[in-house]
Symmetry: D2
Subunit: 326 residues, 4 copies
């Protein structure tokens, strides 16, 4: 007693399309050490998992040791928490259902939890960020796609099979833009990076006004945001239209969920007020009247490069401790 | 001990636009007695509440007595469960925030809970109907408007202030039909009774085909359903279009919530397969791919005239017992 | 749609030391059909499980058919809900950890849940009996041993590994009567059938008063209760002492848990007020002062031969639906 | 938007018998500033509350300002969380039910939550200490009395009226030592500071062995612990006996609750292994056999003077944000 070996650290993992990062994190969300490697495009997931396992073991041994680590949390694209698997990812090199949590647990001998980007960020913002103390909120990710997670009375909503939060594939315009998912009019075709670029092309075609966007090929969302900040009127109009679509989509969402706040994360938030002001204004026009003006629009309070790692670490605390070796 | 006076019955109340009904219900959802009176349009809510209180006392005294009653549950249009109030009802004679639960509790000396139609029905279907055993499901009401409630991991989702589930006022068509709420393109303008009538007019205007709907003034949804069953092609087209819009709206909802089932209730379900087949088909085209074909489409298993009363009785069991007189 | 095959029945199973009973039960707790067979003492649990499976299939086929059955719930001595297993039962013929739920699921192709006696009864009383509407209560079983389950804010408390509720093995008298579990002074050595018999012997030895209990060998708790009701003073003293020990044990329990009610079930409750009056009186002397007089003492409102079957059926609704064949 | 004024700090308050301390704490449990004043023995609770309010306002204004503060949490002896009140405190100068949370909220215009010592510490250990990541655990306070709180599946168990956890007043010895609560044999009469002193007197009376405890008047628990560490055999025997009683009491508790860990806090833990080794040993002899050797015995990982403040701050995040002035 008192001699009890309390494990006071976890490992957070962010599997990104390009880079995979691991971190040792303590109880209060301090990142003690970090390490990265290229995710690669090897379709052999066993090789990737072995590489990930090795990376974690090395990091951990160099920073306090294996016996202080309680468990591991992973943020992965198309991650499914109840299954602990990456499921039908359109972007990762591994197809179908990949039981990454079980595969890593077998290599490390530690409990492993896995969730998608939005799920993990929601847990992270609640533990250490803008959602601390909130029981009902929505977290949005705006990047190459659009994802979300919402909390219901203090718990992240999972649904029957852990496939909830797919706001990016809600239909905002019947018969609208073709989405990679096979449907038309999906919200993310208007509010994600690729959606913004499509809108830019429409905006450019509609007028003869000069714009820094003209002739840039390929044009991407970051450039548009830069032009926007530089005063380019058509770039601003592009972002404004994304904001309007975002506002309507979030109003529909909030009318269903009645959140205290909506936390918007992801690269597109670099557009700041150019995106978020029209979004909030449109939101309040469209949301159910009893909650108009009551939903807080927030951005993350976490560093962009810590957001997913902190979320993954907070997820790691959710699973039961388990060790092959104790 | 053993002499303990266990209260084994509750009162369920359904406040409808025209009729208010009260019922004494036992633990297992048997309605033991019922009584009704005209809701009326008296803007004085205190008078209505006194009438309701009297009705309950009379019913209860004639059926086993007051001392067997544990609590009271109310289904009311625009009801808000956390507030126990009717809030900004567009249809009831009482405006603003009406604290009906507290008013009735003061008259009866019993705990009173109140929720809106959809919330109460969801609780009722879970206790006694098609949602028994489900942890994540959506319940839809399709009547003069469109409402909903969803369960998150075994609990009805309320949100920050109890104003969740407003699917009827999600925007399904940007700049679409004008809704009474002030916005355009609200889903209920396509899928509720009034929406169906508007669609019928469009359908009639688009063709010269003969139809029983022509010349009927005012035309209502019940008639259209009857014509539909009688083989009227334009009536069927009208209902089919409502089904398509319903399917898209529910797909958006289910992509967010990932329910095991969607339970559709209300008068419009009398249209049966004419409405529900296109709805289910469109739903599966639009819902997020990982749950396509996995969400059960269900109608209520409760009698139409018991659905709200049973739900209200199930709600009554949710509140803490309380008595002025014990 | 509407054609959806909703499963509206479950099977409840009570595995008793002597008899195993199965029942088909509907949503509202009506037992539609029942069947029994001798549990036997065959140490081969696979044989028992096959017999159980056959019994269920026959019952179900003769009463509405397999396709109406959603899932199966089992009440088993020493049952552990999270493991779905019978664990270290001192009384059943099967030793160690018996994964009964998985074994039966493999034979039936249906989801199966399993819990111990007290856990299952608590769920049953909440669904259909005296605990309906209660969020915090304790259920006690008083039979050959003593068990319990308590609810925490509307959910049965399980604890880390599902081994909670072992009130029978709390120490009520340091260095007291030797219990079969290896310890001394366990509460069930004073309040269960065997405890009552031990007390009777003490009571008889302490005085020369005549008593119907004298010379009866072996004496059992049912006889003592009968003598008690017949006016036998020493039998009454015996039961009174059990009541006092029960009252202290429950006071300790309630001071930890602060329940709205304690529901006492099992054969010993046949002693009625002879047991429960001294129990309640002692309870109120010993329980933490802020809740004195506030905890309801209740007995079950369910038939004795339905209590476990209804509980098992209610448990069956808790598991996710699953079918090998759909 | 983005301009949204997110409140990122809370105030934690510890009302002690002698000193009241307030602290400004951030999201991650960093104490940014602290202030104290003498609690005093003025029976006028309004005066005390005004003094407390003033202390908070001054502290807050000097450290970042009022507009950063989201809410306030209070640790108070005999605090009741659902009532937000101090109830029938045997030690504080204010008698009966003192609605401290409401009184302070009215003065500050901020949401205020209040709980007792054990409840607040449990929340604090889960947020920032030894219980991080645990879903089922028991926290014990061992000081002038003995209190506790346990978690049920990730939530602190409150019970029907918030009066749970009173392990100190469970009866460990029928007819044993007289307790101030009116009963005999309460556990805290053996395991708290006062209990240890009573045991010391018994130990001294039983033998003629020399001991530093002899002749010390008044003898207190701190001295006994010091003597113990100095090698005094009778002091060690005194503490050992407290450990044995603690072990039995905790075994009874754990057999009901099945925790992953028991966290023991309070001044008596300064006795270290002299107390905790016999406690753990006795615990494992008495606890229900299926969990023997599985329950972790832990002490707090928080600084003794931060434990209650951090717990109070964690409690502050649990209440809904509220402001008179926004």
């Amino acid at each position: 007693m008192a001699h009890e070996n309390l494990k006071t650290r976890v490992v957070g993992v962010e599997i990104g399309l390009e880079t995979t990062t691991t971190a040792v994190v303590d109880v209060r969300g301090n990142i003690l050490a970090k390490s990265s490697f290229a995710t690669g495009d090897d379709p052999n997931v066993a090789d990737f998992t072995s590489k990930l396992s090795e990376n974690i073991v090395n990091l951990v041994e160099a920073n306090g040791g294996y016996e202080m680590i309680r468990s591991v949390g992973i943020s992965a694209p198309s991650g499914n928490y109840p299954l602990g698997s990456i499921v039908n990812s359109p972007n990762m090199p591994w197809k179908g259902v990949v039981p990454m949590a079980a595969m890593l647990r077998d290599r490390l001998g530690l409990a492993v939890a896995l969730g998608n980007n939005a799920y993990v960020r929601a847990i992270g913002e609640r533990a250490y960020g803008a959602a601390h103390g909130l029981k009902d909120f929505i977290l949005i990710t705006l990047g190459s796609g659009m994802g979300s997670c919402f909390y219901s009375n203090g718990h992240p909503h999972l649904g029957q099979d852990g496939f909830s939060g797919e706001i990016g594939h809600s239909c905002i315009e019947i018969g609208g833009r073709q989405c990679g998912c096979g449907n038309k009019g999906c919200l993310e075709m208007y509010t994600s990076s690729k959606g913004v670029v499509l809108t830019a092309k429409e905006v450019l075609a509609e007028s003869n006004e000069p714009s820094a966007m003209r002739g840039v090929e390929p044009l991407n969302a970051s450039q548009i945001i830069t032009f926007c900040n530089d005063g380019d009127a058509l770039a601003r109009e592009t972002i404004r239209r994304a904001g309007v679509m975002l506002g309507i989509g979030l109003a529909n969402y909030a009318s269903l969920v009645n959140p205290e706040a909506i936390i918007i994360t992801g690269k597109l938030t670099h557009a700041g007020a150019w995106l978020l002001d029209p979004a909030e204004e449109t939101f309040n026009e469209h949301v159910f009247r009893n909650i108009q003006g009551k939903v807080k629009f927030l951005t993350s309070r976490l560093e962009e490069d810590e957001m997913d790692l902190l979320g993954a670490s907070a997820l790691a605390w959710e699973v039961k401790e388990y060790s092959l070796f104790k």
